[in-house]
Amino acid sequence: MAQGDPGADSFELPVTAAAPVGEDVFTVELDNWEGPLDLLLTLARRQKVDLKAISILDLVEQYLGFIAEATDMKLEIAADYLVMAAWLAYLKSGLLLPGDPDLDPSPETLALRLQLRLQRLHAMREAAARLMARDRTGRDVFVRAAPEGLRTVKKRQWTASLYDLLVSYGRVQARTAPVTHMVANRQVMTLDAALERVARLVGATIDWTRIEAFLPESYAGSLRKSALASSFLAALELARQGKVTLRQDGAFAPLYLKGGSA
């Protein structure tokens, strides 16, 4: 580790390509860097100057050298390292050749941009280090390992309205009270009355006559229905006695009566 630069390297980096010690020891580990910018920053920091005073040209040289060596070692180099290398080669030529005033952006601007980016990454890296050095919970300061804990207990709050209560009682009462069927006082035609009427009227008819014709004209509504039912029963009784003949052509078809037995 860091044999080529004993004691002078304050970074936690392994041997870098810039410090070859011999073919056997020399290792290039691109995996050590999180991308080209990271590698560039590492190289820049090796110059041990303020990033604002860094020589971009020198930095470019180092990067290109690094990639060239890695290529010689036939190491696989991620595409973005190569893209950066190409871009830096372009930047290098731009910086070294006499300025072309029409070039936009100018190589100087590109170089400045790279410098600013390196400053920002460097600043964040320093900030992270300072953050990690703070008194961290669980390492430097401790909270209670076994707090009692605070609990929220849900308490059921039952609600019901008086209306609900009364409806319920009504429901219970209605359900369980003995079911007494109150028949409303209503007019009916008794079987006796119907017997007497049908017997009397049928004697006077010779032709088939519908049963409805035997009902009193004035009866209507439920009274009429009652009269129909009673008259039907009366007709059955008279037929049994042989005083009436019934005829019906089909189920629910009109019912005809005629005096005398068939």
Partner: protein
Amino acid sequence: MSASAGDAPDDFERAVEAAVFAADAPMSPAEIAAYVGDGPVGDALAAIAQRHAGHGIELVERGGRWHFQTAADLAHLLRRERDEPRKLTRAGLEVLAIIAYHEPVSRAEIESIRGVQTARGTLDVLMEAGWIRPAGRRDVPGRPIIYRTTPDFLTHFGLESRKDLPGIDDLKAAGLLDPVDDALEDALEDAIGNDELTRAELVKDGETE
């Protein structure tokens, strides 16, 4: 014993306090010393306990081991109750109504009025709500517990007294009986000649919760 409480705290005492605080179980003086080094652990513990006495946190000893805990009289603060409104079930309402109209009343009597069995939980819920309470035992074989409504019941339903509960006739006049009555008759008509169905319908009512 540290002479002057409230003065500049001594470092050993601070260390003991921090160690006991951060521990995940009560610690004996020997265990504490393993963290903070040798020193008058006992004196430090006594001084810390004294300093916290009467405040929200207490340093207490249990079987030779020390730990911090919330002051016992403040334990009620550690639980916060939040009301969660729940509507009484139909069965609950019916049982409550029966108790209100017929009190004092036993469970068997409630069941005979309702025509269905009453789940144990129904009475529990009503007691939890604070609306009914056991009121002794009926002096009959088996000595069943009888239930009454509580003053909270009156308060919740906005009643001055039980006499404010409308009578059966009032309920009928208010139409509170009729709609149910009709519905029941319809059901009976549908089910005529099918006694089993009627029975099943009636029992299903209410207790299915």
